[in-house]
């Protein structure tokens, strides 16, 4: 899983930054950036887990990195019946991370402790380390370098176990065979070494440029009839710098064939390669290749023998910004790495800039040949290890969200015409009605025009305005009409309006009722008029129930709060009347009160003192009262503004509790509504 180094000047250095997913569950993503920092990210929540700067990070930048195989940790114990033990979940904890540097040293960093664990220097490389591979089982580490050597390290002792010359030029890549007995190295040619004896077992031609990645793709030979010696028949993959072809090679028993079996073609130099090992013959190998141009190419292929034509990818994934506004064009976001999740059905994509990458799990859909994901990464910017005390994410709550309160259409199911058998009749009627309405409309318009000519009273222009406003849906025109407070004017307008505008008017009124309570106060007057004047017309309409359903629901939901409001109203009135009453009694009685018998003690000074104190307190009390009264008045005003139904008790200041019953009684809209419903 090694990736290329971050060489800057060398034209043959692999592109991209060294990075790797932690083995098994891919919980972490380590990335060694060109500024010398090693950053480890949590893949699940895209959080910077830790950051480490090696002491010599400027001279010896990290050129390659590799996670150690997962350290099994004892984390579970059985639950006994007497008292449960607190066993903890099973997880393979990954810990050590090996970093190769440009000066030839290898650092072992412990991600659990967050500190440098050890440094492999003595007897190792004296030039840039190109690739590091951990052995699966033995705890050995293999590294190769520009100094042409391959070194086998004993990690337990931090010492060189073996060092041998791997090639005549620099060795650029390594890979250990699935059974752990062979090692592939790539220098000028690709060589397969027997690890025990350090002898070359096979040669392969390789690439023209330095090989940046080597990987075994199968763990079983394709032909299962033959006895398997652990290596013969296996395929492996190689990618090289500046090479748009990934070659697949097969290890064969005879030593003749040295050229590639097949190849995959991609759009640019491969930067990061991940694959799922196929465990049997039928299962295809899935390959994800991240290219230098920021695209991911996915291949799915069953490896079986030669294929002359280079294969093209089954699917290409690209990521782009949404492109804010109309002018800016979407920009591509480079993908840095891609790793298959353990279920093999989804891919972890790392994209964005290397100092703040975003990690996302994308489900794979093999059918689509091209996936373009639109992602907005402009707002995720936090280049520090998060020391936020609580890992709280706040989901966006903006004003664009739809708000449903009782009474608004959508809060409750829309009332639909219930009986289906009468539908036909209805539709017939409807069509008839429509024809009529067109005629009627024409007629009405004529009449209106004539009327306009005849009368120059203001009331006459109102129906016209209203009709025109309703037809054109002109907000200002409607405002002009509907915002009158004159009840007579409203009555007259409603009387003279053409019949076909009744329903549109009602709908307009409903819309306005749902709005601000203040406007609802005016609309209620209109509604009342319309319903009383045009009740007979409305009752003839066949689809009245669905037409006025929302209005009805609105009324109902508002009326529900009516009881509570009237309770409050009553309580407030009680309070106010009590206050005013006490005020009056005070004002009335205090001067007229005379003691029937006055017993005077000798010390009259004290008395006078008391009186003064009394007066003072009284004054205070009065002031308080006034204040509270005025406050309450305001309260009441507000209350009444909100209360659309209770409009007819505007002069409810001096009432007592008895009025409460009346209040409940004359909610005049209710009965009307019900009558309309039939």
């Amino acid at each position: 899983m090694a990736a290329g180094g971050g060489g800057s000047g060398d034209p043959l250095a692999p592109a991209g930054v060294p990075c790797a997913f932690s083995p098994h569950s891919q919980a972490y993503f380590a990335l060694a950036s060109t500024d010398g920092h090693l950053r480890v990210w949590e893949t699940a929540n895209n959080r910077l887990h830790q950051e480490y700067v090696p002491s010599a990070h400027l001279s010896g930048t990290c050129t390659c990195l590799a996670w150690a195989p997962a350290r099994l940790q004892a984390k579970e114990s059985p639950q006994r019946k007497k008292r449960k033990s607190e066993a903890v979940g099973t997880s393979n904890q990954t810990d050590l991370l090996a970093l190769g540097t440009a000066v030839g040293s290898i650092l072992l960093y412990s991600t659990v402790k967050g500190e440098l664990h050890s440094k492999l220097v003595s007897g190792g490389h004296d030039n840039r380390v190109n690739c590091i591979q951990w052995h699966q089982d033995s705890g050995c580490l293999y590294s190769c370098s520009d100094d042409k050597h391959i070194v086998e390290w004993n990690v337990q002792a931090c010492k060189v176990k073996c060092k041998w010359k791997g090639d005549n030029s620099s060795v650029s890549s390594l890979c250990i065979s699935p059974d752990g007995k062979m090692l592939l190295s790539a220098g000028r040619t690709i060589k397969l070494w027997v690890l025990e004896t350090k002898e070359v077992y096979r040669h392969f031609t390789g690439h023209a440029t330095p090989v940046s990645s080597l990987m075994f793709t199968t763990i079983r030979p394709p032909n299962e009839s033959q006895p398997f010696d652990g290596i013969t028949g296996l395929y492996f993959l190689s990618g090289a710098v500046h090479d748009r072809l990934l070659n697949v090679w097969q290890v064969r028993s005879e030593n003749k064939e040295k050229s590639a079996v097949m190849s995959f073609t991609v759009t640019d130099e491969p930067v990061y390669i991940d694959l799922t090992l196929s465990e049997n013959k039928e299962e295809p190998v899935k390959l994800a290749v991240v290219c230098r141009d920021g695209q991911v190419h996915l291949f799915e292929h069953i490896l079986n023998g030669y294929c002359k034509k280079p294969l093209t990818s089954n699917c290409t994934i690209q990521i782009a910004t949404p492109g804010k506004g109309k002018k800016s064009t979407p920009k591509p976001i480079p993908i840095l790495a891609a790793g298959f999740c353990s279920d093999k059905m989804s891919l972890l994509l790392v994209y964005g800039s290397w100092f703040q990458p975003t990690i996302e799990r994308v489900a794979l859909n093999s059918r689509e040949p091209h996936m373009c994901l639109v992602r907005d990464i402009s707002n995720c910017w936090a280049p520090k290890v998060e020391t936020a005390i609580t890992k709280v994410r706040t989901p966006v709550m903006n004003s664009e969200a739809k708000v449903l309160v009782p009474g608004i259409p959508g809060h409750h199911a829309a009332i639909k015409p219930a009986p289906p058998q009468t539908k036909q009749v209805e539709s017939k009627r409807k069509s008839g009605g429509n024809e009529v309405s067109i005629e009627e409309r024409l007629g009405a318009m004529d009449i209106d025009a004539r009327k306009k000519g005849k009368d120059d009273l203001q009331t006459n222009s109102f129906p016209v305005l209203l009709t025109q406003g309703l037809e054109s849906n002109d907000f200002e025109m409607l405002n002009k009409v509907l915002q009158t407070r004159n009840v007579n004017l409203i009555k007259k307008t409603v009387l003279r309006m053409p019949l076909h505008t009744v329903i549109p008017l009602l709908q307009e009124l409903t819309k306005r009722l749902q709005g601000h309570p203040n406007s609802a106060v005016l609309m209620v007057q209109w509604l009342k008029c319309v319903l009383t004047v045009h009740a007979s017309y409305l009752s003839t309409l066949p689809d009245l129930v669905p037409q006025l359903g929302t209005l009805y629901q609105l009324m109902e939901s508002r009326v529900k709060t009516f009881q509570k409001l009237s309770h409050l109203h009553g309580k407030l009135i009680l309070l106010i009347t009590q206050v005013t009453a006490s005020e009056k009694t005070k004002g009335a009685t205090s001067p007229g009160q005379k003691a029937k018998l006055v017993y005077e003690e000798e010390s009259s000074e004290e008395e006078s003192d008391d009186e003064i104190a009394d007066k003072d307190s009284e004054d205070n009390w009065d002031e308080d009262e006034e204040e509270s009264e005025s406050e309450k008045d305001e309260d009441i005003d507000e209350e009444e503004d909100e209360d659309a139904e209770g409009k007819d008790e505007e002069n409810g200041e001096d009432r007592d509790i008895a009025s409460e019953k009346e209040l409940n009684g004359d909610s005049d809209l209710d009965p009307e509504n019900e009558s309309e419903e039939e």
Partner: protein, 830 residues
């Protein structure tokens, strides 16, 4: 392959971390906390768990560093043992069997071979502080029965005991008095807050106590939020106390800093208060710590503090009051209303977290991912305040939609209810509020479910409520000329004879909706919303309802409150079978036909796994938990297992997790404990070999060389090269705090000179004296170093008699000359 193994119930994840004070290692690299039967070792830098020390058979109640060897840790448990651990490698060194339940552990550096523990011997609520003598023995298990009684009638909590002034006295608080026991005089003094005051304020009970590390000063915390500092308590009459008051509620814990210059306190305000110089004026605060501070501890090195919080987290705080790391477990502060869910997107477990939040918890890595703030209101922590509760949540359409219900009910009639529908925005990778519905129902919402059928083109949500209705909400296009939006609207309202709707669920293909109305189950067609049929068994209210899946999709299962499990056939509309089972939890497996039911009986909870097509269960496990199981969930496995045995096949594709009443998360495992427990030898252990620094070249190599030389010439030669750590100049340079050192330029020449040998000034006699002086000074040197010095001393002494003048070898002289030539200007530049 695993036929002989049995399925066991195992704890997984999110265990309690805030039970007792956390303890720092001497170098502040690690922090230890008790967690159930285990002791967990965390790294203070990375927040990662380094080791889990297991060996206790009951709740671990106390941990302390071994004062004689700071690489070892004592722990005590209710199982009556004290264990000594090597925490760096996670190895159990010794077990001391005490025999009675131990409730807390204290160590004092001065009491060398004994520790202190809280026990209750005779009566259940009378606790005593005893001193336990730990016998020296080479064996692994030692009996430690020698208990000597120190204090009686003390509080059970270790917060109410503190050892002060290097172990001269011990202070204990309980209710309204503070008692101090002096070890030398063997007397106890008792101080009471005057009773008249008790009546007046009624709330000045003691809650915790802390002792100044060097002075005679005791700090006590009280219920009313006051901290009292007691002085002069050697005298029963002349004692004084001063008050510090900032907390508005109970002081939860107190701790003095290592030097004793400042006092730390915390409470439910979730603010850490540092009182400098024990005065009320000099206060420093670290606010917004997220939850009530339960414990405070201080690292022996003095550079870190840590606070344990009620939401199961430990915050590590720098000396300058900056939080540096957070160790967060599964939040267990409050009751779980939402149940367990799996986020289809992150595969994380989702449940109630902090108040008003949903927590996302990764089961794979046993870590909390994040808390999602749903209610978005400031949480006011005050007693008796009725909070908005997040009562229901559901994921729909592969994680694209999240529906949440929050409610606040102050009185029976005054219900505030709100439903929020959140859309997952792929562009910004986060949830965005799409629709907010005030009072979606007139009464509490009892169930919430999305239609998760794959083919359904229109997202559908059903809410069932106690008001007798269920509402169907659909996503509709709300676009107008200004913008393109979608929003949820109510599509259908259904009811059945004014019964309360209690449960709802969609069939797998989304064609049918089942809603239970108390005792009756109604089936509705999801296209026309027509009532198709009803089932009624008259066996009590329906508690759980679910459709069968895959091949069993023609079955509907219902569990009633009277302990009947019914299975109806939807094709024949008849009861297929029923069984008497008091079902508490019923969960269908999303990947198979299996349904897991957990029943509750008087002895414990039992698990039944069955297919709806057969009344006979596939698997039964009795006694999975003694507590009531509240919630359960199937978690699909990433990589399917391949159990061949019939009894375990239900675990192949999913794993079953369940949550008990005490909020411990449990699961089933088939792997034997041996397989999971890897011996330390099998782990990849890499030697620590750290790189060389310039100082290493000067000091370390020198010493190494010296050491080699010693070994070579031990017999016949006297070594006269001064040891680097014995040179006063060097030790001064290394041991004096940086801020009091003179400038490096001044020190440089002295330092370099001291490294050179001069025959004239240093006679052989002076060296051992120097060594002695150094030894006295450096009392904190590690054992190893002491040994080394002793060794050198020995050689020196033996060499003295022979009086051989040491001759430097050529190579050594060369090296020294090289040192002279080396440019030391870099030191000056430091």
């Amino acid at each position: 392959m695993v036929d002989e193994e049995t399925i066991r119930v195992v704890r997984c994840g999110g265990s309690e971390l805030n039970f007792r004070r956390a303890v720092f290692s001497a170098d502040s690299k690690y922090i230890f906390c008790v967690s159930g039967d285990f002791v967990k070792v965390y790294s203070t830098v990375t927040e990662e768990c380094v080791h889990i020390l297991h060996g206790h058979r009951n709740l671990v109640t106390g941990i302390q560093l071994n004062p004689n060897n700071h690489l070892q840790l004592y722990s005590c448990s209710l199982d009556g043992t004290i264990k000594l651990w090597d925490y760096i490698d996670g190895i159990l060194i010794k077990t001391f069997i005490v025999g009675c339940k131990l409730h807390a552990l204290f160590t004092v550096a001065q009491a060398e071979d004994s520790v202190f523990a809280i026990v209750n011997k005779e009566k259940p609520d009378i606790f005593q502080l005893v001193s336990v003598k730990l016998p020296k023995s080479s064996s692994q298990e030692v009996e430690a029965k020698e208990l000597s009684f120190v204090l009686d009638y003390i509080n059970q909590s270790p917060k109410c005991i503190a050892f002060g002034n290097e172990g001269v006295y011990v202070a204990a608080v309980r209710e309204f008095y503070l008692s101090v026991y002096f070890f030398k005089k063997k007397t106890t003094s008792r101080f009471t807050l005057s009773s008249s005051r008790n009546k007046k304020h009624a709330k000045n009970n003691f809650t915790c106590v802390a002792c100044h590390p060097t002075e005679d000063c005791i700090a006590s915390g009280h219920m009313d939020g006051k901290i009292r500092l007691w002085r002069n308590f050697y005298d029963d009459k002349k004692y004084t106390y001063t008050c510090l008051h900032w907390h508005h509620d109970m002081v939860m814990d107190l701790a003095f800093s290592v030097t004793g210059t400042s006092l730390l306190s915390g409470g439910c305000e979730s603010v850490l208060v540092e009182w400098r110089d024990a005065t009320e004026k000099n206060k420093e605060f670290l606010p917004r710590l997220g939850a009530t501070i339960e414990h405070i501890s201080v690292s022996p090195a003095g550079d870190l503090f840590c606070t344990s919080h009620s939401d199961n987290k430990i915050i590590i705080i720098h000396r300058n009051l900056e939080a540096s790391a957070v160790i967060q477990g599964l939040v267990k502060d409050r009751s779980i209303f939402t149940g367990l869910m799996i986020d289809p997107r992150t595969k994380a477990l989702v449940l109630n977290g902090k108040p008003g939040h949903l927590q996302f918890y990764s089961l794979q890595s046993d870590k909390q991912l994040y808390n999602l703030d749903i209610i978005q209101q400031e949480y006011i922590n005050d007693y008796g305040l009725i909070q908005i509760e997040l009562t229901k949540a559901a994921f729909g359409c592969f994680g694209n939609w999240l529906a949440t219900v929050e409610q606040r009910q102050e009185k029976e009639t005054e219900l505030e209810l709100q439903m929020k529908l959140w859309m997952y925005n792929k562009k910004t990778q986060g949830f965005i509020l799409n629709t907010k519905i005030n009072m979606p129902h007139e009464d509490c919402i009892t169930a919430l479910c999305f239609c998760n059928a794959e083919k359904s083109e229109q997202p559908t949500l059903v809410t069932a409520s106690k008001d007798g209705y269920f509402k169907v909400w659909i996503l509709t296009d709300d676009s107008d000329i200004y913008k393109k939006t979608v929003g949820w609207t109510c599509d259908f309202v259904g009811s059945y004879h004014k019964y309360q709707a209690t449960n709802c669920c969609f069939s797998e293909d989304g064609s049918l909706l089942a809603v239970s109305f108390e005792e009756i189950v109604t089936i509705w067609d999801s296209v026309t919303w027509e009532l198709k049929c009803t089932f009624c068994q008259r066996a009590g209210k329906i508690r759980h309802l679910c459709f069968g899946r895959l091949t069993c999709s023609k079955y509907l299962l219902g569990a009633t409150e009277n302990g009947i499990l019914c299975c109806w056939n939807l094709l024949s509309c008849a009861l297929e079978w029923n069984a008497k089972l008091n079902v508490r939890v019923m969960e269908p497996d999303p990947n198979s036909e299996n349904i897991a039911a957990i029943s509750q009986s008087s002895v414990g909870s039992d698990l039944f796994v069955f297919k709806p097509s057969e009344p006979r269960p596939l698997y039964i496990q009795k006694g999975i938990s003694r507590e009531e199981v509240q919630w359960g969930v199937f978690v699909p496995r990433d990589v399917p297992e391949s159990f061949t045995s019939e009894a375990y096949q239900w675990l192949n594709r999913s794993q079953f997790y369940f949550l008990t009443k005490s909020q411990s998360l449990l699961t089933f495992s088939t792997k034997s404990p041996e397989e999971k427990l890897t011996p330390t030898s099998k782990q990849l252990l890499a030697e620590e070999s750290l790189p060389t620094t310039p100082f290493y070249f000067i000091l370390g190599k020198h010493r190494q060389h010296q050491d080699e030389k010693l070994n070579e010439t031990l017999e016949n030669e006297l070594v006269q090269l001064p040891l680097t750590e014995n040179i006063p100049a060097v030790s001064e340079l290394l041991h004096t705090p940086a801020h009091v050192l003179p400038s490096a330029a001044f020190l440089c020449s002295m330092f370099v000179n001291s490294l050179l040998l001069s025959k004239e000034t240093k006679s052989a006699k002076e060296i051992p004296e120097d060594v002695d002086m150094e030894e006295e000074k450096e009392s904190e040197d590690s054992d190893e170093e002491n040994d080394f010095i002793e060794k050198v001393q020995d050689t020196n002494n033996t060499g003295l008699g022979e009086d051989i003048i040491h001759q430097l070898s050529k190579s050594e002289e060369k090296e020294l000359r090289k040192f002279r030539k080396i440019d030391y200007s870099w030191i000056a530049a430091l």
